[in-house]
């Protein structure tokens, strides 16, 4: 039998609107890292040893010295590592660096990832996102989990006019519909 071929939740969706672009990001690996209670220091030192940084507090993100991974602080005691997908299993890559200092769970296939970018991206997101995305309130690098059109979404600002949106894989078509409708409704 041939090896199994992967497929992305939104088949590599991409569409341009006036000063606005919606693109599916398909090449990301995502690993959640939980810090064992009472051994937070061990994880912290493993992270700083391996990546040269401290894990971010909830709501913000930080890039490893080498540029990858980017760690997103999502909840107390837990963050996501975000990096480009490679052949090796995502958890193995993290475990190789951090050994057993944390608890790791592969989340790479759990999410559909959209990048919404362009100077009108905030205007479009205003229609579905309850958070204040003003650049002084939700700064570049900020991250939050919230709800849009009845769907849980992780929103990460990766640029002045660029956001990554992560939503559950199974409902990805509904989520895409919500984002595309926002883009259409402001045109």
């Amino acid at each position: 039998m041939p090896r199994l071929a992967p497929s992305s939740p939104l088949n590599g969706f991409r569409q341009e609107f006036d000063r606005l672009e919606i693109t599916e990001i398909t090449d990301l690996a995502l690993v959640s890292i939980a810090s064992p209670q009472g051994r937070e220091a061990e994880l912290a030192s493993a992270v700083s040893g391996a990546y040269g940084i401290a894990l971010p507090p909830v709501g913000s993100s930080v890039e490893a010295d080498a540029g990858e991974p980017r760690f997103l602080g999502l909840q107390p005691g837990q963050c996501f590592a975000l990096f480009e997908r490679q052949d090796e299993g995502p958890v193995d890559i993290i475990a190789r660096k951090l050994s057993d200092a944390g608890y790791y769970t592969d989340q790479s296939d759990s999410w559909a990832v959209l990048r919404v970018s362009g100077t009108r991206c905030r205007e479009a997101l205003e229609r579905i996102c309850p958070l204040d995305l003003h650049p002084q309130t939700f700064v570049t690098g900020a991250v939050a989990r919230t709800v849009m059109e009845h769907l849980g979404v992780i929103i990460f600002r990766d640029g002045e006019d660029s956001f990554l949106l992560l939503s559950a894989r199974s409902s990805a078509p509904s989520f895409l519909h919500a984002v595309v409708t926002s883009a259409k409704n402001i045109q």
Partner: protein, 982 residues
């Protein structure tokens, strides 16, 4: 008809003529008109009929407080009943028709009600229509219902789309009149993020309708300059055509923005956008509403609020009459007279209830001081008025000014009670404003132009300062503090013709008196008994009049009698807008499994399981009835092998040194000693001892488990576990993360399942019964290296596995499984066959785990360990939950083999009628068992385990079917469980 009442001036674009029709007649207006102003310009007086007496009614106001001029706008599915002509922006091709009449508007047959008025007084219906009893629903009520209501819904789906959104600001300014514009300038210049919203399509509020100067220029021009400055600032968002309709907790405001209502077509764009505005501070600059005065026959077309008459002349260049009289109790009425005279109108009279004239009257006008209007004439349009001094004056328009009521609506959406102010004879905001709200200008009782500008600036200044902004010092634009002296005169106390208070609901001063006479004396009783203030205008021009009559009856002051409290919305909001996009298929998200596409290609029939769509069965060629497909699928599983997508089950990744201990506490059965590489069925109770959920949990490592939950409870179980982890045992080292979406999981079930999997799982993994026995689990690879998890668990009772691959491989995996399974005759099976198989095995699902059943009811009492603490353990021991005659989950088979069982039937003893007293339980699930060749069921019945073999009735009177059934074991197939261990 041409624009007979159009005059020069106004804020219209006369280069853009717009055609429209009213009741089929073609008319013309200009850009900048409202439907009402265009109707006035065309000399149209009669625009509708009142609710109860079907009295002829004309345009009464120039704003959103309009009680009379309600039309149905547009046609068919686009038809919008009860639309106020006074706030409808005119567009080319507009179609409007009047409402609530039988026959033509002019000759409404229902006008007969007016002659029956003595019998239709307030609350008459509570006292009659009771005999004969049966007549209420058959005769009286249908007649009442068909004559009630105003406009008509088309009955068709709303063809427009709507959207919603979220906005954030430091300071929200509600209303863009003089106070609002001044507040916005002041707030914006301080650097705060400002939103300025106004319901009108043109900012300026009364600056657009008055002739008074601001900063040496016309009010309208000053407003335009202010708007231009605000528009140039990127910390300001201007929202015209936007009504702030409600004030909610913590500075959240509801706003409705009308996007395409002023256009002929919405062209696929949202008609309206509903915004939730999060503000740190809000400044209410909503202005004031003029009120009327109640006097005899004060409801005729042509009788209007004075400020509105003035507005039509000044802003819209439309004169509501050729010969206009003014009836006032305050100085403002005089300004109407002088403005109208300046436009060349013939001022017939000024009637003032006060003794001394404050200003000079226009030339030619009769001035009657200390007088009032007692009656009017003119059925379809005003012809004359009669004064208290006996004079009759001919006129076709009467401008009435009863003083101004501050628009305090939003201030009382939470707890605030407005307070009375004698000097303006009106209610102003009280002390308990919504947190963060300030009020400025006329809304705050500051009724002069200069005061409004000043308050707007001051309140914005203070709000900005509170938020830490440095307010800029600005020079207040010069304006006059015009004369606004008023008197508390609300209604003409005379035993003349009926004096209307609530124009739309036809509540008269007599009705208020009757309400008092019958003991309905509190404001709330008055409102409910007479329907005062409950029409589409919510009594904006009427409430205070009603209150004044009641106060007089009570012999007390108005504030002693009561206040008028307003509830959201400020003006009515389309239900479609409040629903936004959530309609049709977009009502809620749809969740799809990774095998969905493949199932579609196989023509699967899908079913909703919560938000999931799951394949219900897979019809094959020649199958015409669903049972054929389902029977085939179930039989194939029992005989060979089938595959079912079980991805929808919740999966929770649980890690930590205390993970085993944690599971031991949240499951009623023991988990502490589950070996690595094994799976265990777990039963989860609520704290009240009822079964909450069940599922299997696999131990992948010393500190690593994967729990499965039922599809329906995935979210609530996760929440519950987080509660246990954070609130009950915060000292345990345990971490949870949902893995439901990460894995595509397939049940491979049937005697050939191992054979099939041997072709899937890479050869280095030993799948023999010895190496990988029943309830084993492990991490394997499939198809040459794809990581995978394998669980040997069985829901069907057959030799079975569940295999999970990362979701990105789900689609490829199902196709590959079907390909390699071909030699075994593998079938995909859906939720129906799954259900047949589990009922044959007696496994409970949501029908049985309905939140009303205990472990004991389910026959699982041995799974509630008494040796440890766990959620639900203690309260599961309560006496009634352990009574001797408690329920037990049993199997049921029809006594007559060919009869079909029905779920929802209740059990009674054979010799007893089906009544509540004899009710012994109910059937939870039924299926046709192709294995046994007859219908089978599961159900709860009292003392079931002692009654195996007994025949009882399954009563289903709802469907007219009662049959005899035999109580049997719930395990119909392979009760010893040999197959799954093979």
């Amino acid at each position: 008809m041409s624009q007979t009442h159009r005059i020069d001036g106004g804020l219209l674009d006369r280069s853009r003529a717009l055609r429209f029709t009213f009741n089929g007649t073609s008319l013309e207006g200009y850009a900048g008109d409202t439907l009402a102003s265009a109707l006035i310009a065309n000399g149209v007086k009669l625009v509708g009929r009142s609710f109860k007496y079907h009295r002829p009614r004309g345009i009464f106001t120039a704003g959103s407080e309009e009680p009379n001029a309600l039309v149905t706008l547009r046609r068919d599915g686009h038809g919008e009943p009860n639309t106020r002509a006074t706030v409808t922006e005119l567009f080319d091709g507009l179609v409007a028709s009047s409402q609530n009449h039988r026959g033509p508007l002019r000759y409404d047959l229902m006008a007969v009600n007016d002659y029956l008025a003595p019998f239709l007084s307030a609350g008459f219906y509570y006292k009659t229509f009771m005999w004969p009893k049966a007549f209420w629903e058959k005769l009286y009520e249908p007649v009442i219902r068909s004559s009630a209501g105003l406009g008509r819904l088309s009955g068709k789906a709303d063809p427009d789309i709507y959207d919603k959104g979220f906005l954030h600001c430091d300071i929200l300014i509600i209303g863009a009149g003089p106070a609002g514009l001044c507040a916005a300038l002041s707030a914006a210049r301080s650097g705060a993020r400002v939103i300025l919203a106004d319901e009108d399509f043109r900012f300026g509020g009364r600056l657009n309708t008055e002739t008074m100067a601001v900063a040496g220029t016309s009010g309208a021009d000053w407003a335009q300059q202010a708007v231009a400055e605000l528009a140039s600032m990127d910390n300001v968002r201007l929202m015209p055509r936007t009504t702030i309709y409600g004030a909610y907790d913590h500075g959240i405001y509801g706003a409705l923005e009308r996007r395409t209502d002023h256009l002929a077509e919405s062209a696929g764009k949202p008609r309206q956008v509903l915004w939730r505005i999060y503000s740190k501070r809000a400044i209410l600059c909503a202005g004031a509403t003029e009120r009327s005065i109640a006097f005899g026959n004060n409801d005729r077309p042509g009788i209007m609020l004075a400020g509105s008459v003035r507005a039509y002349a000044n802003r819209w260049a439309a004169l509501p009459g050729k010969r206009i009289a003014v009836f006032t109790n305050n100085d403002d009425g005089w300004r109407t007279a002088s403005d109208l005279a300046a436009h060349g109108a013939d001022i017939a009279a000024i009637v003032d209830t006060r003794d001394r004239a404050p200003l000079e009257a226009p030339a030619g006008a009769t001035v009657a001081m200390g007088a009032y209007v007692t009656d009017t004439k003119g059925r379809h349009g005003l012809k004359s008025i009669t004064l208290s001094n006996g004079t009759t004056i001919e006129c076709d328009c009467l401008a009435v000014s009863g003083g101004w009521s501050p628009n305090v609506h939003l201030t009382c959406h939470q707890r605030d009670k407005p307070q009375w102010r004698d000097d303006i004879a009106g209610f102003v905001p009280g002390p308990d404003l919504p947190v963060g709200m300030r009020v400025a200008g006329a809304a705050n009782g500051a009724l002069t132009l200069a005061a409004a500008l000043r308050e707007g600036h001051e309140q914005a200044h203070a709000a900005a300062e509170e938020l830490g902004f440095k307010p800029a010092s600005i020079a207040l634009p010069a304006a006059e503090d015009e004369a606004v002296e008023t008197s508390a005169f609300f209604h003409v106390k005379a035993d003349g013709p009926r004096a209307w208070i609530d124009l739309q609901n036809d509540v008269t001063a007599k009705d208020v008196k009757l309400s008092h006479q019958e003991g309905f004396r509190s404001v709330e009783h008055l409102k409910r008994y007479t329907t005062l203030g409950m029409a589409t205008d919510q009594g904006k021009t009427a409430n205070l009049l009603g209150l004044s009559v009641m106060a007089e009856c009570n012999g007390r002051s108005i504030p002693e009698t009561g206040t008028t409290i307003f509830r959201p919305p400020y003006t009515p909001v389309a239900i479609g807008a409040l629903a936004g996009r959530s309609r049709g298929k977009a009502f809620r998200p749809t969740r799809l499994t990774t095998s969905h596409k493949s199932a579609e290609e196989r023509d699967a029939v899908f079913v909703e399981a919560g938000q999931w769509l799951r394949a219900q069965w897979f019809p094959e060629k020649g199958e015409t009835h669903w049972r054929e497909s389902v029977d085939r699928e179930a039989v194939r599983v029992r005989e060979s092998v089938g595959i079912c997508d079980v991805t929808t089950l919740g999966k929770i990744d649980i890690q930590g040194r205390d993970a085993a201990e944690f599971l031991n506490r949240v499951y009623s059965n023991g988990f502490a000693k589950l070996p690595v590489g094994k799976v265990r069925y777990g039963l989860m109770l609520r704290e009240d001892g009822m079964v909450m959920d069940d599922g299997t949990t696999a131990r992948l490592g010393e500190n690593h488990f994967v729990m499965t939950t039922t599809t329906a409870n995935a979210v609530s179980v996760f929440r519950h576990l987080e509660f246990c982890r954070q609130c009950l045992w915060p000292g345990l080292d345990v971490h949870l993360i949902s893995a439901t979406e990460q894995w595509a999981q397939f049940a491979v079930a049937g005697p050939h399942s191992r054979d099939l999997l041997r072709k899937v799982v890479d050869p280095e993994f030993d799948l023999s019964n010895e190496a990988f026995p029943f309830m084993a689990c492990g991490e394997v690879t499939v198809f040459d290296g794809t990581p995978s998890r394998l669980f040997r668990i069985s829901f069907s009772g057959e030799l079975a596995y569940e295999i999970a691959v990362p979701a990105r491989y789900g689609d490829a995996m199902i196709r590959a499984l079907m390909d390699v399974g071909e030699e075994f005759g593998v079938v995909p099976y859906g939720t129906e066959a799954l259900s047949v198989l589990r009922i044959e095995k007696g496994h409970p699902v949501a029908n049985e785990l309905c939140g009303q059943t205990t472990a004991r009811d389910l026959g699982l009492e041995r799974m509630v360990s008494k040796k440890k603490d766990c959620i639900g353990n203690t309260l599961s021991e309560r006496s009634h939950l352990n009574r001797e005659d408690g329920l037990a989950l049993m199997g049921f088979a029809p006594v007559m083999r060919n009869e079909h069982l029905s779920a929802g039937a209740h059990f009674t003893s054979r010799d007893k009628p089906a009544t509540t007293e004899n009710d012994e339980g109910w059937m939870t699930s039924v299926a046709y068992s192709p294995t046994l060749g007859h219908s089978i069921g599961l159900g709860f019945i009292a003392r079931g385990r002692d009654r195996v073999g007994e025949i009882v009735q399954a009563a289903d009177p709802l469907r007219g079917k009662t049959i005899e059934v035999r109580i049997v074991s719930p395990h119909f197939v392979d009760p010893e469980g040999e197959r799954q261990r093979a």
